[in-house]
């Protein structure tokens, strides 16, 4: 897949900007706070209709403006498509593909774009919600069904939590819980199964890259941490979910919220069997996060049968020379289109990537073409 062009209106610090991209490498140079990450966010948003930085669309709108608008042309195996995404509150988000309006749920899985950023380290270091968002976003992008089920699950969860809260004040007929318990278990069980299979395929890919990245040749594995006993037979998840739900009901009614289910689940990145979050060195943590993202690129390559577009947000400065080389090699081997930002001089990077390229300069929300180089 390739992104031919993008136009941004009132997106973060861009008032109005139109850019034509190179099909292979696009470099963006500029000082901090000029809009390099914002541009990558715009590209990601145009491709996925979600931000990789925030779940709040209104945060993306340029200060003092009421809407943002993105437009761009993607080229894929199946042809070219013109995408327009506009947001205003109200009426909310509008997505058009070749002039035809479509829903977010039908759009989210269309374009394989992967972002590498220093924030990836949060996947290893921070709390469960970061990893849950990762599973949910990637799950939704790989399977249209996941997104809808997740939305339905959250609706059921809200309804059930309301019943639990009502129960704190007055007795609620137990029979009233049954339909919501049933729906929670059915949707939640399926979500857990889909996450398990996502982690399983991702693990295979990430493990391969971790071995390349880590000097000590350790093994990376991903373990799903469920609030429900998952066991060895995924078909039994619903039963154990439902049993646990019955047992926790009395505690839940005191707290007024649902205390088990995929909305509280997590996963651990294990290096040689030990949780990298607790026991990993800085180097291992960085390698684990990077391997996970590299694995993701391959996962999208396999499942969408397209060459993913890769966004690299100032990541090279994070790594030592050896890893930098490996990441460069990975980008070269990927043969896809890449967008690379850097706040430090990029000459070394530019020379490190053989192929046609376009180099841009970013300054105060304006982007200018610095130069274009054809294949050497």
């Amino acid at each position: 897949m390739r992104l031919e062009s993008i136009s941004l209106t009132n997106f973060r610090n861009y008032d109005g900007q139109e850019i034509l991209f190179h099909p292979r490498f696009n470099f963006f140079e500029g000082l901090n706070g000029q809009g390099k990450t914002n541009l990558l966010e715009a590209i990601y948003y145009l491709a996925v209709a979600h931000s990789f930085r925030t779940g709040q669309d209104h945060e993306i709108v340029n200060w003092n403006e009421e809407y943002f608008f993105l437009k761009g042309v993607f080229t894929q195996e199946k042809g070219r498509s013109l995408v327009e995404i506009g947001y205003q509150q109200p009426p909310g988000l509008k997505i058009k593909v070749d002039g035809k309006a479509i829903r977010r749920s039908e759009y989210i899985h269309r374009h394989p774009v992967i972002i590498f950023s220093p924030d990836d380290l949060r996947l290893v270091k921070e709390g469960p919600s970061v990893r849950r968002r990762f599973m949910n976003l990637e799950g939704s992008r790989l399977k249209p069904r996941y997104y809808r089920q997740l939305k339905e699950y959250h609706r059921v969860l809200q309804q059930r939590n309301r019943l639990l809260k009502d129960m704190k004040n007055a007795a609620v007929n137990q029979a009233l819980f049954e339909p919501w318990d049933h729906a929670l278990v059915a949707l939640g069980g399926d979500l857990i199964r889909q996450r398990l299979s996502l982690l399983q395929t991702l693990e295979k890919q990430a493990c391969f890259f971790y071995r390349q990245l880590s000097a000590s040749a350790g093994t990376l594995s991903l373990r799903y941490l469920a609030t429900v006993e998952v066991g060895n037979d995924p078909a039994l998840i619903e039963r154990s979910f439902s049993d646990r739900l019955k047992k926790t009901r009395s505690v839940e009614s005191k707290r007024g919220c649902t205390m088990i289910g995929p909305h509280l689940d997590d996963f651990a990145l294990l290096v040689d069997g030990y949780d990298a979050k607790k026991f990993g060195s800085q180097g291992q943590q960085r390698a684990a996060a990077l391997a996970l993202k590299m694995g993701e690129v391959n996962l999208f390559r396999v499942s969408t049968k397209e060459t993913p577009v890769v966004l690299l947000d100032d990541v090279f400065s994070e790594f030592d020379l050896e890893r930098r080389k490996q990441l460069l090699q990975f980008i070269l081997d990927g043969e896809g289109q890449s967008f690379i930002t850097s706040s430090t001089p990029i000459e070394q990077l530019v020379r490190g990537l053989n192929g046609g390229k376009k180099i841009f300069f970013v300054h105060k929300g304006k982007i200018t073409v610095d130069r274009i180089e054809s294949v050497n």
């Binding site: 039908e106 249209p144 069904r145 809808r148 339905e152 609706r155 059921v156 809200q158 309804q159 059930r160 309301r162 019943l163 009502d166 007929n173 029979a175 009233l176 049954e178 339909p179 919501w180 049933h182 729906a183």
Partner: protein, 198 residues
């Protein structure tokens, strides 16, 4: 601009209608001003008359002029088959098919704790009484295929089954006359789940 008060009132009135925005409201108001007085008066009377004369059937909850309603009193309808729907308008939709010859039960909503709607707010106790009175062999649940509609269906099924009455849920599936490739994936996966042997 600010309209003269009577016109402004009319536009504001139309604005409250479902699916009507300020522009359409304006258009409707100007249209009415263009029509002859008798026609408008007739229309106004029709609105008040409908409001005064229409009520809910005490048995099934449909809109009716006479209580019990035409569906409940029609001797040609099968009393043993009861179709449960969410809204009175769903009855009209089902009637248009001409396929269903049983009787109805309108819930006037679906279970939704978030909106404070429980069984008591719906006509569920009444449904239990109707089924308890006997004579019903099958309950077809035709609530909406969403989270709340499904939960309501599950609740009804649990309530009715111990009474020894057959409970069915209408099938979800593909629009007839459409192409498989244009069906959205949720509809398609639901219709796969609900497939049947040939």
């Amino acid at each position: 601009m600010v309209y003269p008060e009577p016109l402004e009132k009319l536009i504001t009135g139309f604005c409250r209608f479902p699916g009507i925005g300020p522009k359409t409201a304006q258009r409707l108001a100007f249209y009415l001003l263009d029509r002859p007085r008798e026609e408008v008066a007739g229309f106004a009377r029709a609105m008040v008359e409908a409001k005064d004369k229409m009520r809910f059937c005490s048995q099934c909850g449909c809109f009716t002029e006479k209580d019990p309603c035409g569906f409940c009193t029609d001797p040609r309808r099968e009393r043993a088959v009861l179709c449960v729907v969410q809204e009175p308008r769903d009855v009209l939709v089902l009637e248009r098919t001409g396929q269903f010859r049983g009787v109805y039960h309108v819930l006037h909503g679906a279970l939704s704790p978030l909106d404070g709607i429980g069984p008591e707010e719906l006509r569920l106790p009444l449904l239990a009484r109707r089924i308890g009175a006997g004579g019903i062999g099958e309950v077809i649940i035709a609530t909406n295929p969403n989270v709340e509609g499904d939960a309501t269906a599950a609740y009804i099924a649990r309530m009715v089954k111990p009474l020894g009455v057959k409970v069915t849920r209408i099938a979800f599936g593909l629009p007839v006359g459409g192409d498989l490739e244009y069906a959205d994936d949720l509809t398609l996966s639901r219709s796969l789940e609900g497939r049947r042997e040939m």
